[in-house]
Every structure is written in structure tokens, then in C-alpha cells.
């Protein structure tokens, strides 16, 4: 079935704003892309494939996203860094219940002080999107990352 072109572009815009908000440190804008009752999880592929429930970041509401932002801004100690999120292979399918199921590949590049840019994390997004007040919002985003080995720390969401 051919997907509405306007809807495809809307999904692409959601990805673009998501990446820009994180990379520019506009974390509140990032959290605003989720519904109030959202589920956001960053899960090693190994756990996901073996049916193990553990995530390295697990948020069950927008409030938990906001608490992550407090940590990034106020309570965590970490070396300064620049991150860049890249998304490709965006796919989307409409469900009977009106929600949209989406999938996309992502890369996150990281630059630490005095270091060249490195590939920090790679994986795929598994999304459920809904329309709220006329705009698409993420009701669920699972970030399934390929290598369980995280280079030191993952501070900013994926």
C-alpha cells in the first residue's frame, strides 16, 4: 500500500528534530517529542534477542525523561563531548489502531576533548508514534544497539 507522502515527510521531520534537539543540547525540546505516558529504552541487542528485560536507560514516562535531563545538566560528572545523531533507512507503517509503527537505523558519532571523532553507538529505533494535538509524538522508542560494549559512558540519550 502506498504511504501518504505528506505523512512520510512528517515522520522524517520528527527524526530530524529529534536528532537536532539532542545534538544541540535542547533536551527539553527532545522530551517534548514524546507523549506523557511514553516508554523510552536503550537496550543492548544481546538482551533484546535473548528476551532479557534489562535496559541501560529505562524511562516509563516523560517525567523520567526530564529526570535524565536534570542529571545531564545538574548532577552527573562527565567530560565535555559533542554528539551527532544520524538516521537512515526510515520505514513506517500505519496500524489499524491509528498508531504508526516506525523503524530506522541510527549512528551516533562522539567527539571527546583532544580526540578525533569516533563512532560511538549504532543500532535501530523501533517506534510507535501517535498524533497528539495535531502533531506526531513518540509513544514508544526502543533503541536496540548492536554492540553491548559501550565506550565508557552513555550520558546523552540515543
Amino acid at each position: 500500500m502506498a504511504m501518504d507522502v505528506a505523512l512520510r515527510l512528517e515522520v522524517e521531520d520528527l527524526h530530524a528534530e529529534y536528532c537536532a534537539a539532542l545534538d544541540e543540547g535542547r533536551y527539553e525540546d527532545w522530551a517534548a517529542l514524546f507523549t506523557e505516558d511514553c516508554l523510552y529504552r536503550i537496550v543492548p541487542r544481546d538482551n533484546h534477542e535473548r528476551g532479557l528485560p534489562l535496559a541501560i536507560m529505562h524511562c516509563e514516562s516523560r517525567g523520567m525523561l526530564l529526570d535524565r535531563i536534570v542529571a545531564i545538566r545538574e548532577t552527573s560528572y562527565y567530560a565535555p563531548r559533542t554528539l551527532r545523531h544520524m538516521v537512515s533507512g526510515i520505514r513506517v507503517a500505519a496500524e489499524a489502531d491509528g498508531a504508526l509503527r516506525g523503524q530506522a537505523n541510527y549512528l551516533v558519532l562522539q567527539t571527546l576533548p583532544e580526540q578525533p571523532t569516533t563512532l560511538f553507538n549504532a543500532g535501530r529505533y523501533l517506534d510507535t508514534m501517535v498524533r497528539e494535538a495535531g502533531r506526531l509524538r513518540l509513544k514508544e522508542r526502543l533503541c536496540i544497539f548492536d554492540s553491548i560494549v559501550v565506550p565508557n559512558s552513555l550520558i546523552v540519550p540515543i
Partner: protein, 415 residues
């Protein structure tokens, strides 16, 4: 400042005269020290953590693990017994097991199909008798002498340890009565349930991880999140205890109130006006006897047992050269946990791991420590908080357990 002469091997350099209240910085970057650590500590008489039994519940189940930097395979055989064998084919050394977890009836090396049973016994060698009268192994080739190298194995209440020493001391004696009591507090024999794994590659020497967990006073200063939300504070009733050798230790903390007082005024980082947007993150319930809310146990040479509120995890250290190690986290609960307790453990896991509200601070500070330490091998670290001895204390304002660690370390290393 005196620089070390290049022609003096690290193992023969003098330790600073102040003994265990100083640690020379060459200890964190020198390749010869690292080599000696592999030989005398990880391949020595110690019991290293390798697995939880719940990770390999059924006959044939195996997992890859590592002791120091040596890969091993932990496998349960048809009788339920657990073997730990090196992940190194007895023929030409191939790391034959390439999957992290799995189930097998036998192990076959892909290179020349040497085949081993689940205890590491060599079952078959293709072309052993040659082909049409040509080639083959010598007539006196003895398969029984060429099995996989087997390690000594100790199991206690669902936790598996292994040793390269063929006759190590009994595991219970290795822990000693005090440490065994703390170990049995979490591992009562109640069946465990694995919740999942995390792994982070930390750009620092492995010993900095033990220094971090054996030092309770940093937690009240570095970990703003813990302090702010009352999970760990210097003014809480607490203890630092070691076994008689100093090689193992526990930090114990008891519940305190989130309030401003003399202790928090010393902590510039305390933020009195913070509350969580979603309080479900920190909703701990008491589940162990006694009033301790945090017990961090460090077991020589490669394990931290974490009990922080309701988040339970094994943190296994895997060394990767003098300036890098992996921290492998296995989170678990109990098999009979109610669904609400399972959810609580998964929420509280946000505190720990590579994205942990608490542990981010530690992995980042270890990287920054290595950045300062490695370029200055001629300098020393200073460990005088709480005195210059290694003794048990009923407070947190001490680096005594680090001194205990190095007292034992120096003996094992002969330096």
C-alpha cells in the same frame, strides 16, 4: 622530582617509603606490571568470578567468560556439574567458542574439527590414522593427554568461581567468615533470575575500579545524585570492613534522611531543592535482614557484588592491557520475585551501568584519573584519609580498604 631511570624494570623499582599510604603511578601503566598481574594474580591461586548458574541453567548450556585477559568457557554437562575450560583448542590454539551464550552437546573446533566433550575431554581428531595409509598422528598420540585445560571450580549458592591453580584453598576459607556472611546475605541459595547484561569499556587501569568501590568517601562528594536523593551519605551509619588479608572488602551504608546538616554543608555538591519528576525511579523496599540499604562487596581479584537498594548486579572486571578494562555487569533478581519487584529492579537499574545516574560519575572519573596518572609514572597517589593503616571502621571517612587492597597486592606481586 626524580624521574625513574629507564633501565630499572618496574618490578624492581622501590615502592614509596610511606608504604600503603602511597601508590606509585607506574603501577597503572607499566606493561611489565600488567604481565606480572596476569601471571601472579589472575592465573595465580585466586578464585575469579566467571558466571551465575542461572545463566547456564540446563545441561549443555555454556557461556564465554574471562579471567584477567584469558578467555574461558563455563559449561554445564549432562550431570549438572559445571566445568570451566580455556577457550583455546589444545591443537593450534583457536578460540573455538565464538558465541557469548549457547547450548551444545560437544565442542568442535572449526579449524581441524578436534572435538571435545562438555568436560573438555578430547573425543576425536579427524585423520588421526591418516588417509589411505598416509599421514596421521604418531602411533603414540594420546588423546587423553590433549584435552582442554580445565580450571578448578567452586560454586556457592548459584555463583561460579574458577581458578587456574589446580589446588586452591577452599572457597569458603578464601572469603573468610566475615566476607562469607555478606556474600550469603544476597546469595542465600534462593534461585536467581538473570535480568540482562551491560558492558562498558573503561579507559583506565583495572585497579582504579577497586580503588573506587573501596573508597566510600568519594560517594558523598562525587555522586551528587546519590547525595541529593539520600541514597548514600557520609552522615549515615556505615561501615568499611575487610577480611583478614585485606584482599576483600565491603562498604555498608544505612538509610538516612534527605536533609541539610553539617555533613551536607561540607559537600558543595548537595542540592537541597531537587525532587524527581517521576518518583517511581527511587521506590526502594527493604528485602534483606538488617538495616543496610547499600552493601558493595569487592572480592579479589575480579568481582564487585552490588546491592544498592533493590538493584543487584555482579560487576566483573576484564583486563585489557594496563590502560583499559571492561566492566561486565550481570543484573539479577530472584526467580520468585513478584512482578512489581521485577519492575522495581529494572527501574533502579537506571542508577548503574554505562548510563547509570551514579556510575557515570565513576567511569568518567576513572578515565580522567588515568589521563592524569599515566603521563606521570614518577608521582604517587596519596591514601591517608582515615589514617595510614588498613583496619575496619564504623564510618565512611576512610581510604582504609584501599590500603588493605595494596597491602595484599604487594605480597602477591612481590613488590
Amino acid at each position: 622530582m626524580t624521574f625513574l631511570p629507564n633501565d630499572v624494570p618496574a618490578s624492581r623499582r622501590p615502592w614509596p617509603a610511606e608504604a600503603i599510604s602511597r601508590v606509585p603511578f607506574w603501577l597503572y601503566s607499566d606493561p611489565e606490571i600488567y604481565r606480572l598481574e596476569q601471571e601472579r594474580i589472575f592465573a595465580g591461586p585466586a578464585w575469579s568470578y566467571v558466571a551465575l548458574e542461572a545463566e547456564i541453567p540446563n545441561p549443555g548450556d555454556f557461556k564465554r567468560s574471562v579471567i584477567g585477559d584469558k578467555p574461558v568457557v563455563v559449561v554445564r554437562d549432562e550431570t549438572g556439574a559445571i566445568s570451566v575450560v580455556v577457550n583455546r583448542c589444545a591443537h593450534r590454539g583457536v578460540a573455538f567458542c565464538q558465541r557469548e551464550f549457547g547450548s551444545a552437546k560437544e565442542f568442535v573446533c572449526p579449524y581441524h574439527q578436534w572435538t571435545y566433550d562438555l568436560r573438555g575431554k578430547l573425543l576425536g581428531v579427524p585423520f588421526r590414522r591418516g588417509y589411505k595409509g598416509q599421514g596421521g598422528m604418531p602411533a603414540d598420540f594420546a588423546p587423553e593427554a590433549h584435552g582442554l585445560q580445565r580450571l578448578s571450580v567452586a560454586r556457592r549458592h548459584g555463583v561460579v568461581f574458577a581458578s587456574f591453580d589446580p589446588a586452591p584453598e577452599k572457597f569458603e576459607d578464601y572469603l573468610g567468615p566475615l566476607m562469607l556472611g555478606y556474600f550469603d546475605r544476597v546469595f542465600t541459595g534462593r534461585p536467581l533470575a538473570v535480568l540482562g547484561h551491560m558492558r562498558q569499556r573503561i579507559p583506565s587501569n583495572w585497579k582504579l575500579m577497586f580503588e573506587n568501590i573501596k573508597d566510600p568517601y568519594h560517594a558523598s562528594l562525587l555522586h551528587v545524585f546519590l547525595v541529593t536523593f539520600g541514597l548514600f551519605r557520609l552522615d549515615q551509619k556505615s561501615a568499611v570492613e575487610m577480611d583478614e588479608t585485606g584482599r576483600h572488602a565491603v562498604l555498608v551504608s544505612r538509610k538516612g534522611e534527605q536533609a541539610t546538616n553539617d555533613a551536607t554543608r561540607e559537600m558543595r555538591s548537595f542540592k537541597a531543592d531537587f525532587t524527581l519528576n517521576d518518583a517511581r525511579l527511587l521506590d526502594p523496599v527493604r528485602e534483606f535482614a538488617g538495616d543496610a540499604t547499600v552493601v558493595m562487596q569487592t572480592l579479589w581479584p575480579n568481582l564487585i557484588v552490588q546491592q544498592q537498594s533493590n538493584t543487584l548486579a555482579m560487576r566483573q572486571l576484564v583486563t585489557r592491557g594496563p590502560q583499559e578494562f571492561d566492566l561486565v555487569w550481570t543484573f539479577f533478581g530472584y526467580d520468585d520475585d513478584a512482578p512489581e519487584m521485577r519492575r522495581r529492579r529494572l527501574r533502579q537499574a537506571n542508577l548503574m551501568g554505562p548510563s547509570g545516574y551514579v556510575s557515570i560519575d565513576d567511569s568518567e572519573i576513572m578515565a580522567a584519573s588515568q589521563d592524569g596518572i599515566a603521563p606521570y609514572p614518577e608521582a604517587n597517589g596519596l591514601f591517608e584519609m582515615g589514617g595510614r593503616e588498613a583496619r575496619n571502621e564504623d564510618h565512611m571517612v576512610t581510604e582504609g580498604a584501599i590500603r588493605g587492597f595494596y597491602k595484599y597486592y604487594r605480597g602477591v606481586m612481590g613488590i
